[in-house]
């Protein structure tokens, strides 16, 4: 196998400063042997054309900056292997959020929903001098919940979020809501459930499971949402 190879891209481009409307740009780039991930290829492309704009930071799948729509599926550029991508590789912004420029989207609505679930521990007992105790089993309940990186791959792949981004909390926000409901140290269970007891905020989830399919961290928001629904039912009876 030769060390250098040329890869074809189709990239969504839009600069409101000069473009009337968005367009798809056909562009190719010669990659080095070390360019293993999509992000490496995009950085290589940007070295050629510095007007290509995208967010990126940690390049190891933990900061959540470089979420985008890759060949029709949401994912992180830094965790997407080039060898698995059919060409031309089609890159679009995350669907359902306003585009600011190229693949950079306005995430205001996404974070608004995250903030709406009160994403912080509530415990009104006087703080003890040392740590609050939590058994390893109770701590284990938080696994699969706290690891969320807020990349928005899930919420922007969810039809319910596309239709009602202002009313439906979305998978990321609901996963965070359950992260606190599941924490034995948290005391705001009933307020948290009240906050979600609404035809839209929680119940717009129809278990389509796109969120599970795209989560780059392998998390399962649908399962967490199911558990919140169970808690709702249990407190009703």
């Amino acid at each position: 196998m030769s060390s250098k190879r040329t890869v074809q891209f189709k990239i969504y481009r839009y600069d409101p400063d000069k473009d009337d409307k968005p367009y798809m740009q056909d562009i190719s780039v010669e990659l080095e042997e070390s360019d293993k991930k999509l992000l490496d290829a995009l950085v290589r492309l940007k070295a050629k054309d510095d007007t290509l704009s995208f967010r990126r930071s940690c390049r190891e799948g933990v900061c959540g900056s470089d979420a985008m729509n890759i060949n029709g599926k949401n994912g992180l550029a830094c965790l997407t292997a080039m060898e698995n991508l059919a060409q031309p590789i089609t890159i679009r912004p995350l669907p359902g959020l306003p585009v600011i420029r190229d693949v950079i989207v306005d995430m205001t609505q996404f974070f608004k929903q995250y903030h709406s679930i009160k994403p912080y521990l509530v415990n009104n007992d006087p703080a003890p001098e040392r740590e609050r105790l939590q058994s390893p089993e109770d701590r284990e309940e938080l696994n699969g919940l706290y690891e969320c990186i807020l990349c928005a791959c899930c919420s922007t792949s969810c039809p319910s979020f596309w239709w009602n981004p202002d009313k439906f909390v979305g998978p990321a926000g609901l996963l965070a809501a359950y992260r606190f409901l599941a924490d034995t140290r948290d005391q705001a269970t009933s307020e948290r459930l009240d906050n979600l007891e609404d035809p839209y905020r929680l119940f717009r989830c129809h278990s389509i499971m796109n969120c599970v399919d795209v989560c780059p961290k392998g998390l399962n928001p649908t399962k967490a949402i199911g558990k919140i629904k169970d808690m709702m039912v249990r407190r009703a009876v």
Partner: protein
């Protein structure tokens, strides 16, 4: 260009661990505070910390802060200031327990306490045996911490300016700091943030090196801004090369892997650290382990077809332990090394990781500079914390898990100092000089109009390759000297960078050009300070420093037990004494000794 002006009690630049911890102090005290950050807070590089945060809680092995203090001073190769170190290790339990109260999902011991694991250079009884001091949330401690801090700030209603890049520090004729200029990335507009107090928490500049564990955003923005504004940079020759970056990719593999029992092996499968550090072995200090690895590779015992790396082996650990304690490492290893560590060892090489030096501060988080014969005079209105600051607690080499501790303790301390100074009326809103934004506007105008200039990507690459080649794990007198000439040439080229993108909206080419200005300051400071320091100490090891009774390990306490101060203007060097005196009169100083593990 029209320049908007925002007025606040305090402006914090950076929303990683240190910035968020400081912000919490200010928001909860009711100060009108702006937090500027070029990325959404949870994207800051604290998120990538893995192995843990140090505190002598003693949850699984006996421990106390005296041992932690000894380990930190020894780890620093006695370049750390002992007042700041005492302050940090004594505060450790408090700030870690606070985080637990904020909701941080620490792993737990069987009796429900915070789980702690061993880490490099941390010991019981003054260097005798490894101690479990690293408080961990699996191998995602930084992520868990940063999110918990952000969440607590949501609760405290902290006001964030997200995706705003700070550009330049504003000082008046007396040298007082009055705030910063900043650019909103979405619009390209420049604003002035005028404040009574300015706290820098902008992180490190690991991207000056070609091979780095650091995120793209780690471009030393605060350090560069401070240097351009006439503040000296302290101890910039000291850079930590983390022993275990994934070979080729640079991505970090936590020392916690060795804390959980991981072993480094050379081509013949030998556990070579037994030869270099008979006592702590694979858990010796990072500088020691990195040098041992490079020595193995240089002497032909490296692994792979190029013999250019060594192996980190955890195949003897149970899959349950790996999945429970090191799940992120398994993920990273599969993703970036193509290896499942349950089945095969991970290829690793020492990789640039952490900036020990930075903006000089005292243990209260005040920025201090030499003035009228006093080495440590606070700059009115200016504070710094975290990796961008040099308190100095890490000296010539930082211990693993002391960075997360540093940002908690000094983020909080800087916040508390500002609140106290504010309440005592010491902080006032001083009039802005006329044209306070001119420097920033000129930088932007130059990028608008530059022709026949240099490509940002190419200049950055030239800088990174120069740093990698001339100021690496082992340093050589002649190569350093040549490095100074080369880096000054690169710095000249950086003055005429040119970008094609002229858009006002989210112009990342412009952001990268502005970041390069900051990186270049750090690169110059590093090379010039390193060339000048004619000894070996901690992470700075030279071929011409001889190991003898007079200079143990090549460390020359007679001539070089002092902090470097580099001034950007004229590349001038100055020095100031190390504080060997602990904070409390009843605490014994840790006496100078030869450093062995």
């Amino acid at each position: 260009m029209k320049v908007a002006k925002h007025t606040f009690d305090a402006v914090i630049v950076g929303a990683g661990g240190a910035g968020l911890r400081a912000a919490l102090q200010l928001s909860e005290a009711g100060l009108k505070t702006a937090v500027l950050t070029k990325v959404f807070p949870t994207r800051s590089h604290t998120v990538a910390a893995q192995g843990g945060v140090a505190a002598s809680l003693g949850n699984s092995t006996e421990d106390n802060w005296h041992w932690h203090m000894y380990d930190t001073v020894k780890g620093s190769d006695w370049l750390g200031d002992q007042d700041a170190i005492e302050f940090m290790v004594k505060k450790a339990n408090e700030v870690v327990v606070e985080l637990e109260h904020y909701g941080m999902p620490f792993d737990r011991t069987d009796n429900g306490k915070i789980y702690q694991r061993p880490f490099g250079g941390h010991s019981q009884n003054y260097g005798q045996t490894p101690v479990s001091r690293s408080c961990a949330a699996a191998d995602r401690t930084g992520h868990a911490m940063l999110h918990a801090l952000y969440q607590r700030n949501v609760r405290a209603n902290t006001q964030f300016f997200v995706e705003w890049m700070a550009m330049d520090l504003i000082r008046n004729a007396d040298g007082d700091v009055l705030g910063v200029t900043a650019m909103e990335m979405e619009t390209g507009e420049v604003s002035i943030f005028h404040a009574k107090a300015t706290i820098f928490a902008t992180g490190g500049a690991g991207r000056i090196y070609y091979s780095s564990t650091n995120a793209f955003i780690n471009t030393g923005d605060g350090v560069g801004m401070a240097a351009r504004a006439g503040i000296p940079l302290e101890d910039m020759e000291f850079w930590q090369f983390h022993p275990t970056g994934v070979a080729g990719a640079g991505v970090l593999i936590t020392e916690g892997v060795r804390g959980e029992g991981g072993i480094l092996r050379n081509a013949s499968g030998e556990r070579f650290m037994e030869r270099y550090a008979p006592n702590l072995k694979d858990l010796a200090s990072r500088d020691v382990v990195s040098r041992s690895m490079v020595t193995e590779i240089n002497e032909g015992r490296g692994c792979g077809s190029e013999k250019d790396h060594v192996l980190l082996d955890i195949t003897h650990l149970s899959p349950e332990t790996i999945n429970k304690r090191l799940p992120g490492i398994r993920e990273i290893s599969i993703q970036f090394a193509g290896v499942d560590p349950i089945k095969a060892p991970i290829p690793v090489v020492p990789t640039c990781h952490y900036q020990m030096g930075g903006i000089p501060t005292n243990y209260k988080g005040q920025v201090v500079v030499p003035k009228d014969g006093n080495s440590n005079v606070p700059v009115a209105g200016f504070y710094a914390a975290g990796e961008c600051a040099c308190a100095s607690v890490h000296g010539a080499n930082r211990l693993g898990t002391n960075s997360l501790l540093d940002l908690l303790v000094f983020g909080k301390a800087a916040g508390e100092t500002v609140v106290n100074d504010f309440r005592s009326g010491q902080l006032t809103l001083k009039p802005l000089p006329e044209n306070a934004a001119d420097v920033s506007l000129a930088r932007i105008a130059r990028l608008e109009t530059q022709t026949n200039g240099e490509d940002v990507h190419e200049v950055r690459l030239a800088m990174q390759r120069t740093m990698q080649k001339h100021a690496g794990v082992f340093r050589f007198a002649d190569i350093l000297k040549e490095g100074v000439t080369k880096i000054l040439e690169v710095a000249e080229r950086a003055k005429t960078t040119q970008i094609k993108d002229k858009s006002k909206v989210w112009n990342t080419a412009r952001t990268e050009a502005l970041e390069l200005d900051n990186l270049i300051e750090v690169a110059k400071a590093t090379m010039i300070s390193a060339e000048a320091r004619k000894e070996s100490r901690g992470a700075h090891v030279r071929d011409d420093a001889i190991d003898c009774a007079e200079t143990p390990n090549g460390r020359d306490d007679k001539n070089w037990l002092k902090h470097t101060l580099w001034y950007s203007e004229g590349n001038r060097l100055d020095y100031k004494p190390v504080n060997l005196q602990p904070l409390s009169p009843d605490v014994e100083p840790i006496a100078l000794a030869k450093r062995t593990y």
